[in-house]
C-alpha cells in the first residue's frame, strides 16, 4: 500500500476541505485542563504543544517544548459521545382524542469527521459496531451516524502510563476501519505526517494537502516511532485464560475486597469508549398529550440498573463491580466474539479511588493460580 507524506501545516487545508464537504470535524482540543473531543474549525484548536500525564486517579495537562499536534494520549471523551449520544430523543408520541401517534424523527446531525482520534478509539468503534449495529437489531441513531462518519485517526507516538492497548490489540497503530491513518513525525528539522489511505477510502483527501508519496526513509521514521511506543506501554494485561478465570470465580473473596474500595460512582463506565448500556426516560409536556422519549447512558454500577419489582438483582457494590469487570473481559467474548476492552486506560485514570483493572486482573491471576 502506498504511504504518502504531507507537511504539518497542511492540516488546516484538510480541516477546511472536510468542512466544505459537509462534515463536522471532531478532534482533540484542550478544554478545562484536559484534552477532550470537540468540534473544531481550525488546526489552531488542536492541542499543539500539550502533553498529558496520567496515572491511577490522576490526569494533568502540561505544556511541552515541542510543536507536535498529537503528543498526548486519550482524554475522558471518546467518539461514543457523538455516534451514540446521551440525552438524545429516540421518538415522540402524541395523544389526542383517544388516538395515539408514535413517530421517530430522522436524525439531522451533519456527518462527523473524526480527526486525530486514537487507534484504540477506532478499535472501540469497531467493538460498539458489533453491539449496536451488527446484532439481530440495530440501533437506528448509532448505525446512521456511524455509516456517515469519516475516520482520520493518528497513530500513537507516545504511550501513556495507564495505556495497555498492545495487550488488548487496540493500538498503538490504526489497523482497521479508517479512511486515512496518520503518523506524526517531528524532529529538529522537519514536521510532517505520513498518511495511509484505508480500504474504505472513498474520498480523495490527499490532494488538498498536496501529499506526495513518502520516501522509504520517512516511512521508517514513522515505523520506528510506533514501535518505540509499543515497547513502552504504561501497563499490561496477560489476557491468556482471563475470560475463563473470571467466569469461573464469581464467588471469589477478592470481589468482596474490591467492593469495599469501589464507590460505584460510574465514572469508569461513562469514560469507557465501549460501554453501551442505556436507560430511557419519558418527558411529558404540561398537557400530558405530548411525550418525548430520550435515551441516557446508563451504568451497571447504578442500583436501579437491575431493578425489578421487589428490588435490584445486583444490590451490593461487589456484585456490580463483578458485573462490570466480568462483562468487559469475559462475557463480551461469548456475546460478541472479542474483548470489551481496548486497553485505553481511561477507567484507570478517571477512577477517583484509583482502582486499576490491570492490577485487579493480576490479583485474580495470582490468587487463583
Amino acid at each position: 500500500m502506498q504511504v504518502y507524506r504531507f507537511e504539518a501545516d497542511a492540516l488546516n487545508a484538510l480541516i477546511a476541505t472536510l468542512r466544505e464537504r459537509g462534515y463536522k470535524v471532531i478532534a482533540p482540543t484542550p478544554m478545562d485542563g484536559a484534552v477532550v473531543l470537540g468540534e473544531i474549525t481550525d488546526a489552531g484548536q488542536l492541542p499543539r504543544g500539550y502533553c498529558d500525564e496520567q496515572e491511577k486517579g490522576v490526569y494533568r495537562l502540561k505544556k511541552t517544548d515541542r510543536d507536535a499536534f498529537f503528543d498526548f494520549n486519550v482524554g475522558p471523551r471518546s467518539p461514543k459521545r457523538y455516534l451514540f449520544p446521551t440525552n438524545h430523543v429516540l421518538w415522540r408520541s402524541r395523544q389526542e382524542n383517544g388516538r395515539l401517534e408514535i413517530y421517530s424523527e430522522s436524525d439531522d446531525e451533519k456527518p462527523f469527521a473524526f480527526l486525530g482520534i486514537r487507534p484504540c478509539e477506532m478499535k472501540a468503534v469497531a467493538v460498539q459496531d458489533r453491539v449496536l449495529s451488527k446484532g439481530p437489531f440495530a440501533d437506528r441513531i448509532y448505525s446512521n451516524r456511524r455509516q456517515k462518519a469519516l475516520f482520520i485517526p493518528v497513530d500513537c507516538t507516545r504511550a501513556g502510563k495507564t495505556c495497555f492497548c498492545t495487550s488488548m490489540g487496540g493500538g498503538p497503530e490504526a489497523t482497521e476501519g479508517y479512511h486515512l491513518a496518520l503518523t506524526e513525525v517531528i524532529d529538529e528539522n522537519r514536521h510532517f505526517f505520513l498518511a495511509r489511505p484505508g480500504e474504505e477510502n472513498s474520498v480523495n483527501l490527499l490532494e488538498c494537502m498536496q501529499a506526495v508519496p513518502a520516501t522509504a526513509e520517512e516511512i521508517k521514521q514513522g515505523r520506528d516511532l510506533i514501535e518505540k511506543t509499543a515497547a513502552c506501554m504504561g501497563r499490561e494485561v496477560n489476557t491468556a485464560g482471563v475470560a475463563e478465570m473470571l467466569a469461573e470465580y464469581r464467588d471469589h473473596p477478592h470481589w468482596e475486597e474490591i467492593g469495599k474500595r469501589c464507590m460505584n460512582c460510574t465514572n469508569c463506565t461513562m469514560v469507557c469508549p465501549t460501554c453501551f448500556c442505556f436507560e430511557v426516560e419519558d418527558h411529558n409536556d404540561l398537557t400530558g398529550q405530548n411525550t418525548e422519549r430520550t435515551r441516557q447512558w446508563d451504568s451497571c454500577f447504578n442500583l436501579s440498573f437491575t431493578y425489578q419489582h421487589g428490588g435490584s438483582v445486583r444490590h451490593t457494590n461487589k456484585a456490580r463491580y463483578r458485573q462490570w469487570l466480568t462483562h468487559k473481559f469475559s462475557a463480551w467474548h461469548d456475546q460478541f466474539g472479542e474483548s470489551g476492552c481496548v486497553g485505553c486506560g481511561r477507567c484507570i485514570t478517571w477512577c477517583p479511588v484509583g482502582i486499576d483493572v490491570t492490577e485487579e486482573i493480576q490479583m485474580f491471576q495470582e490468587k487463583t493460580s
Binding site: V131, F137, A138, D139, E279, D298, Q308, V313
Partner: protein
C-alpha cells in the same frame, strides 16, 4: 441506511380487558397487521408517559388477529396497562426473544410447570401442545397459585383437565377448596411422564423454579431437557441496552427461555 426503529413502538388498540384475579387482567389488543409470534416470546408494552414493560404474549399462535397479554399490576406501567379501556390505544413492539422449544417435543412427554403469573408465558405453549397432542407423548400441566382466587385462566383450566393431565395447587384456601394444597413440586410425579425422555417447561418465581429443577433432576431428567423462562430488567428487548444481562447472556435475545444446562452455573451464584 436503517429506516426501521426497533425502539419505536407501533400503535395497538384495546379490544377487550378481562379481570383474571384481584390484581391480574388479560388484555386483548388489535394491531394494524396480524401479529405472528411463537410461544414464550414477549412484547414491550408502552403507556404514554408511564413507560414500557416487558410482557409475555399469552394468546394462541393460530390467532394472529388478537394479541393477548395477561398482566399483573405491580407498579407504574402495569398499573397504566390494567387501567386501559376498550378503544384505548397503547404502544407495542415485538415479538422478542427465544421461544419455548416447540421443535423438540414430537414423540416426547411434555411437563409444564407454572407458578403464579408464570402461567401467562406458558399458555401459548399449552395451547399449541394441546393442539398437537397426536404428535407428542403425554401432556401434563402443573400449576401453583397463592390461593384459588389467584388462579389464572380458571375456566379454561377446567377444560384442560378434561383433555390431558392438569393439576393445580394453592398455598392457602378456604375450607371449601377441594383441590391440592402446598408447593407445586409436590405434584411432580413420574407417573405422568418418562423422566428419560420428557421435555419440561418451567416458569415462575426463581425460588419455585429452583425447587422444580431439583425435583426433576432427582428423577433423572437431564439438564438440557429442562427449559425455564428468566426475568430481568429490560429497557430495549433488542440486545442493545445491556440491562437484562445474566452472566454471559442477554435475557432478551438469548432468552427468556433457556435450557438449564445453559444457566446451571449462574443459578448457583447470587446477584448475577
Amino acid at each position: 441506511m436503517i429506516t426501521t426503529d426497533v425502539l419505536a413502538p407501533v400503535v395497538a388498540t384495546v379490544r377487550e380487558i378481562q379481570q383474571e384475579t384481584q390484581d391480574t387482567f388479560t388484555l386483548t389488543l388489535e394491531t394494524p397487521e396480524p401479529f405472528n409470534f411463537k410461544p414464550g416470546q414477549f412484547n414491550m408494552l408502552y403507556i404514554p408517559g408511564a413507560g414500557e414493560a416487558a410482557v409475555s404474549i399469552s394468546g394462541d399462535v393460530t390467532q394472529p388477529h388478537e394479541l393477548i397479554h395477561t398482566i399483573r399490576e405491580v407498579g407504574n406501567v402495569t398499573r397504566g396497562l390494567v387501567a386501559l379501556k376498550p378503544g384505548d390505544q397503547l404502544g407495542v413492539r415485538g415479538p422478542f426473544g427465544r421461544p419455548w422449544p416447540m421443535d423438540v417435543v414430537d414423540g416426547r412427554d411434555v411437563l409444564v410447570i407454572a407458578g403464579g403469573i408464570g402461567l401467562a408465558p406458558l399458555r401459548p405453549a399449552v395451547l399449541a401442545l394441546s393442539a398437537k397432542r397426536a404428535e407428542i407423548g403425554r401432556l401434563t400441566v402443573i400449576y401453583g397459585a397463592r390461593s384459588p382466587e389467584d388462579m389464572l385462566y380458571a375456566r379454561e383450566f377446567l377444560g384442560w383437565k378434561d383433555a390431558f393431565v392438569a393439576r393445580a395447587t394453592v398455598d392457602t384456601a378456604s375450607p371449601s377448596w377441594r383441590g391440592n394444597m402446598g408447593v407445586v413440586t409436590k405434584l411432580i410425579s413420574p407417573v405422568d411422564f418418562d423422566p428419560t425422555r420428557v421435555i419440561a417447561m418451567i416458569c415462575g418465581p426463581e425460588i419455585m423454579m429452583r425447587f422444580a429443577i431439583r425435583s426433576l433432576s432427582a428423577l433423572g431428567v437431564e439438564d438440557d431437557r429442562i427449559f425455564l423462562s428468566m426475568e430481568r430488567n429490560m429497557k430495549c428487548a433488542a440486545g442493545i441496552c445491556g440491562h437484562c444481562q445474566y452472566g454471559n447472556y442477554f435475557v432478551c435475545k438469548d432468552g427468556p427461555v433457556f435450557d438449564y444446562d445453559q444457566v446451571r452455573k449462574l443459578f448457583g451464584v447470587k446477584e448475577v
